[in-house]
């Protein structure tokens, strides 16, 4: 029997290798933008405009037009090619948009407005508030759900906490990677980012529940076997399912990522990261944590981790 659980500290190390840079990126974002991930106008308020010109333009020149109209902190970047630009600015006063676009036409020739989003600052604050409420509601509901699902099992609290830890792991991984991409590629968290995060949490719990469910079933069947062995057996029994399911979800998401519209690319990428992390954590975080708890390894956890890391380096 392949021993998965035995190598648990390696998995924790792998998780740390992803989470720690993510946390650092979140720290940098916190200093630079005031939040762990770059926030889009959905939360901050402001205007976003995507324009397609008939000839290549340089972002700096486009930006200049905005500056002349009094929008100093405008960001302009090209998207698909040099002819398409994405412009982020403060909320535009009434009528200003038409004036700016007229100036742009004068300078760079005809343009097509692909999209324009404008969100007032009050709405942004409210969206942030409802986002926090939604996250809190999701957290409470999922915790409640786990407690409910495990109500008849001894040590229900332990399973609940390990499942929650795995979910938290996925949130950290997804947010961390997104934060890194925010610093590198300018990715911004919008309302859809939150949607992806909440969906990821739901799926993460679901993956963990499938594995835990098997443990629950195997414990009475294999009395006398050490806990670690039962857990490992349960993992192996469900790993086919986990991988097969995961592969299918990946097929779909990768197809949308590469062939789907550009507007939801970040959303799909976030889902994909979260989903990968969710499957990983259900096998390599939640279950090993159960064993760590069972064997009371908490006390020497840190010692072992610090003992192993240099060995790897």
């Amino acid at each position: 029997m392949t021993d998965i659980v035995g190598k648990r500290y390696w998995y924790f190390l792998i998780s740390a290798l992803i989470i720690v840079p993510g946390l650092i990126a979140m720290g940098i974002s916190m200093i630079r933008f005031g939040s762990p991930v770059r926030l889009s106008i959905d939360f901050t308020g402001g205007a976003l405009m995507e324009l397609a010109f008939e000839q290549p333009v340089t972002p700096a020149e486009v930006r200049q037009v905005f500056v002349e109209h009094g929008y100093g902190d405008t960001l302009v970047q090209t998207t698909l090619d040099a002819k398409t630009v994405l412009i982020r600015s403060k909320e535009l006063e009434e009528g200003e948009k038409a004036k700016i676009q007229a100036d742009l036409v004068d300078k760079f020739g005809p343009l097509t407005e692909l999209r324009f989003d404008q969100v007032g600052p009050t709405v942004g604050r409210e969206v942030t508030r409802s986002a926090i409420t939604a996250i809190a509601a999701a957290a409470i509901v999922i915790m409640g759900f786990i407690i409910f699902a495990w109500r008849k099992v001894p040590n229900a609290l332990r399973y609940g906490i390990c499942a929650t830890a795995a979910t938290f792991h996925d949130v950290l991984v997804t947010m961390g990677v997104f934060s890194i991409l925010g610093l590198l590629l300018g990715w911004e968290a919008d309302a859809l980012f939150l949607t992806a995060m909440l969906t990821v949490t739901g799926y993460s719990v679901q993956d963990t529940i499938v594995v835990f469910d098997r443990i629950r079933e195997n414990i009475p069947k294999r009395r006398g076997e050490p806990y670690e062995l039962i857990v490992n057996r349960s993992l192996l029994e469900t790993i086919h399912r986990s991988l097969a399911t995961q592969l299918n979800a990946i097929f779909i998401l990768v197809a949308i990522l590469f062939f789907g519209g550009a507007t939801i690319r970040q959303f799909v990428a976030t889902l994909l990261i979260g989903l990968l992390s969710g499957t990983y954590s259900s096998i390599f975080t939640a279950v090993p944590l159960l064993v760590v708890w069972e064997k009371g390894e908490w006390r020497n956890l840190f010692r072992r981790l610090s003992g192993r890391s240099p060995a790897r380096a």
Partner: protein, 493 residues
């Protein structure tokens, strides 16, 4: 083969037939006309703004801080906006109240968002205009002195030339008792269809405006028909008394934003500052006019707090791309299931195709407005649908490896996998509900779209992945019997 499986199989085949019909691209819709029964329903895909281009605006009551806007006033504002949106001639617009002081307006396929927004935001203007001897049908757009110059015109004692009057009365649509959103005549159409006999369009004289109005209520006349009672302010009453006394027998049209909503005839001089509007209208129409009278006079100023515009090219591009992405993704999943689970994979693939058919039919029937994230949610739920089958098949394989007979292995596979499927789907459904709440809070149709399609997808998947798969597998084993056990390759053991 059991009777129950047979029945289920028949039902599944019928369902497949129906859903294929619904999903068929050029579905004619349901139009049943059997004697008194009339049932008309178009069956088509409703595309969200991000897929067809258009503008979404969130308007908020612009009141001084601390001042609350009451629900009636907002309902009236919504009614007025509804009318204006209809005036824009947009196909399938959406006007919704959001929260206590907001209105979400979605205008698909609009060409000039700025113009549309400014039209929506105009403060409503209610006028009583002197129509002379001309009956002005509701829905007709007229020019009035107040709207043109902001002034009340000087009384014109001489009646207008009858030529204009008949021209107007005959060339416009048949008079309708009162305006309702669907019956409103598009202003542009009227303008084009009317060959103007006079060189200049006639400007009607504004007698009083909404600010002269004190109250308006729905009442009943002596025959029990609905009528509208109103009272005027002191100043309004004075002007009104003078005008009505001098114009008995003529028409006094009531216009909202320059569109006629009612055109009563002056029956007697109204000197006491209160009057009534009678006409051939239904109770609901009378109510709608009262709302417009009351709040057209006191409209809540609105400000745009959110504006999202998607150009038509981006929308079109997104449709093409997401369709292609969806087809590629689903084909890969179908192939994977076939290769990995072989015979069972074929069954899962059948269930998956049926799943797609049923879900898409529901989108068309309910109807669900499809947005890009909505399409993503739909495709994502394909994964959930397959997941249920994978759980079941893995379980069945285990049971078969332990040497169980097919019948009991199938039974055990489905029974044992059920708790996992139920629990995991429940957590997704709960997440969807939270997302829906989050999305509807501020008109984020993208978030809502994802939540709705994922929710429906998960529900349908529980039916197709469990009931459909089980029925087909049982049928297969009823035909193939225990012989199948020997073909281990086929069942993927």
């Amino acid at each position: 083969m059991q009777q129950r499986d047979m029945t289920l199989l028949m039902l599944i085949i019928i369902l497949t037939g129906i859903t294929i019909w619904i999903v068929w691209p050029n579905n004619p819709g349901l139009h049943i006309h059997l004697g008194p029964i009339h049932f008309d329903r178009d069956i088509k895909v409703h595309r969200g703004l991000d897929l067809q281009g258009g503008v979404q605006v969130v308007l908020e009551a612009d009141l001084p801080p601390g001042q609350q806007v009451d629900a009636d006033a907002m309902a009236a504002v919504k009614g007025i906006i509804d009318n204006r949106v209809n005036g824009l001639g947009v196909v399938e617009p959406i006007v919704q109240l959001a929260g206590s002081n907001r209105i979400v307006v979605e205008l698909p396929g609009i060409q000039d968002p700025e113009l549309a927004i400014s039209t929506l935001r105009q403060t409503g203007l209610l006028e009583f205009v002197d129509a002379g001897n001309t009956f002005l049908p509701p829905g007709l757009e007229v020019q009035t002195s107040f709207r043109e110059s902001g002034e009340f015109g000087i009384p014109t004692p001489t009646p207008e030339p009858t030529a204009t009057a008949t021209a107007l009365a005959t060339e416009t649509a048949t008079p309708t008792p009162a305006v309702t959103p669907t019956e409103a005549i598009s202003p542009t159409v009227t303008a084009e269809a009317t060959p103007s006999p006079t060189p200049r369009p006639r400007i009607f004289r504004t007698v009083i405006t909404g600010r002269h109005l004190k109250t308006a209520q729905v009442g009943q006349d002596e025959y029990g028909r609905p009528q509208i009672n109103f009272t005027l302010t002191e100043e309004g009453a004075k002007i009104f008394a003078e005008h009505t006394a001098a114009n008995i027998g003529r028409y006094l049209a009531i216009a909202m934003d320059g569109v006629i909503i009612s055109c009563p005839r002056i029956e007697s001089a109204i000197t006491e500052g209160s009057g009534r509007i009678t006409g051939d209208f239904k109770l609901s129409e009378a109510r709608s006019i009262v709302i417009q009278l009351r709040y057209g006079a006191l409209p809540v100023p609105l400000k745009v707090i959110q504006n999202r515009t998607v150009g038509p090219t981006l929308g079109q591009d997104s449709v093409a791309r997401s369709t292609r992405a969806g087809i590629i993704g689903v084909i890969v999943v179908l192939l994977f299931m076939l290769v990995y689970y072989r015979l069972h994979g074929i069954v899962a693939d059948i269930a998956l195709v049926l799943y797609a058919l049923v879900t898409f039919s529901l989108f068309k029937l309910i109807p669900v407005t499809l947005t890009l994230p909505g399409v993503a949610g739909f495709l994502f739920s394909v994964g959930t649908a397959v997941d249920a089958n994978i759980l079941i098949f893995e379980r069945m394989k285990e049971e078969l490896r332990q040497g169980k007979r097919f019948g009991s292995a199938i039974q055990a596979g489905f029974d044992r996998a059920w708790t996992s499927i139920r629990d995991s789907n429940l957590s997704t459904l709960i997440t969807c509900v939270i997302l829906y709440w989050f999305g509807s809070n501020f008109g984020a149709s993208m978030v809502k779209g994802f939540a709705v399609t994922l929710f429906l997808g998960v529900l349908v998947s529980m039916f197709t992945a469990i009931t459909v798969t089980r029925t087909i597998i049982r049928t297969l084993y009823a035909i193939g019997g225990e012989n199948l056990r020997d073909s281990k390759w086929l069942i993927g053991l």
